[in-house]
Amino acid sequence: MVWGVIVKKFNPNKNIIITLIVVIIIVVVVSISSAQRTNNGKTDLARSAVNDGVGLVDRVLSFPLLAVGRFTTFINDLLQAYEENEQLKAKIDSYGELALKNKNYEKEIDALKKELQLNETLTNYEKITANVITRSPDTWQDILVVDKGSNEGIEPNMAVLSQKGIIGRVLEVNANSSKIELLTSTNQNSNHFPVMVSSETGESYGLMKDFNEKEQSMIVSQLTGNAAIKEGDIVQTSGLGGNSPASLPIGTVLKVEQDSYGLTKEVHVKPYADMYGITVVTVVKRLAGGS
């Protein structure tokens, strides 16, 4: 009788307990899956099967919309064809000379590689082309889902290009599909790109890690070297760090300014690639071993 009274007095509200348990489960699940996605981009068999199955159905559903999109692009291209033709005619005169120079450089590099017995350099890579099935409907995640996965040789953290330049990295890999995180993602756990800025007075090496939403530009910081960087200088990957190959195009310098502490320089880079309307991507597999 006394024991029953004591238990009744100390019996807490059932709903509060249920709510607390649910909150704990949510925190644990989100933390574990977030850590798994950041540290190891490969999914387990069950999730891979679910993602691939859903991807297959989504590909079928996306077909009519893609067809309409491609038709619209075709009409736009047709309307812009005359203007582009005039621009290309102006560039074609110097094309022959450039092609010849490029061929000679390739011969020189092959000869030097043979001499040094080098099989791969930082610029060697394989390309895997993939179609974009869909994009994360969440505006804040900036993730593309593509139709190639580990069966085609894709691995987490590989660099990804669109037609014009780098757009991001492979975030997660399933057997037949993958997720790509764009450079514009505000995910604070995203992997960064080591870059090289080529200016008239020399090269500077730095790390690209932030995105300025207002300017739509990437921010490069932790720059080394004393070369004078100015607007219009070309920015590309440096190949350092062991992840992405060198010489992948990123963009051009928009402006140079001091960071908030006034200690180091920050370079704002306008990317070549458009981060929206992407239908086809190229995943880059670096061949040279990482450090």
Partner: protein, 170 residues
């Protein structure tokens, strides 16, 4: 009686297809507005709202849990965000059904409330777990506003067909 049983089986499959169609239409709108406005399409939420009177609470919550998990796994890779947002919103729908008289007018305002709660829950979870940085001004002007406007239009076009599809006839 037969039709009620059928709804129990085909409703989850329809919700799954609506989830994928939502993703594709959201992408199409982004391209159409030249990446200025990011309206999220919520056909799946409209479907759930119309199906609440016909399906049991357990089935609705279980379906929302599973679909939310699939959505998390397929679109984001982090489990928990859409799972909580969708399950929470469906729970809200069930609660509303018990206290509010169901007609087209209340359903219209209900969709506005549920779309807002869905978007807010997913944004708040991402902020709490540092999964992204969210500018609230951007969220209100370029995401939530267009989302609500577009979903009002969705309601006008699809509410009656969805009502026919998801209401069980006794």
């Amino acid at each position: 009686m037969r039709q009620r049983k059928n709804i129990k089986y085909y409703a989850p499959i329809l919700f799954f297809f609506l989830m994928l169609i939502d993703g594709q239409l959201t992408l199409a709108i982004e391209t159409w507005t030249d990446n200025t406005y990011f309206a999220s399409v919520h056909l799946m939420l409209l479907g759930f709202m119309m199906a609440v009177p016909s399906l049991s609470k357990r089935q609705l919550l279980l379906t929302a849990l599973v679909l939310g998990w699939i959505c998390d796994s397929y679109y984001v890779g982090i489990l928990g965000v859409y799972t909580v947002a969708l399950t929470g919103t469906v729970l809200l729908m069930i609660t509303f059904q018990n206290v509010v008289e169901a007609n087209m007018m209340t359903a219209f305002f209900g969709l506005i409330i549920f779309s807002t709660s869905y978007e807010l829950i997913s944004v708040i979870l991402q902020l709490v777990f540092h999964l992204s940085e969210v500018s609230f001004l951007l969220f209100i002007t370029r995401v939530l506003g267009p989302t609500l406007l577009f979903n009002m239009l969705i309601f006008v076009i699809f509410s009656y067909p969805f009502k026919l599809m998801f209401t069980a006839k006794s």
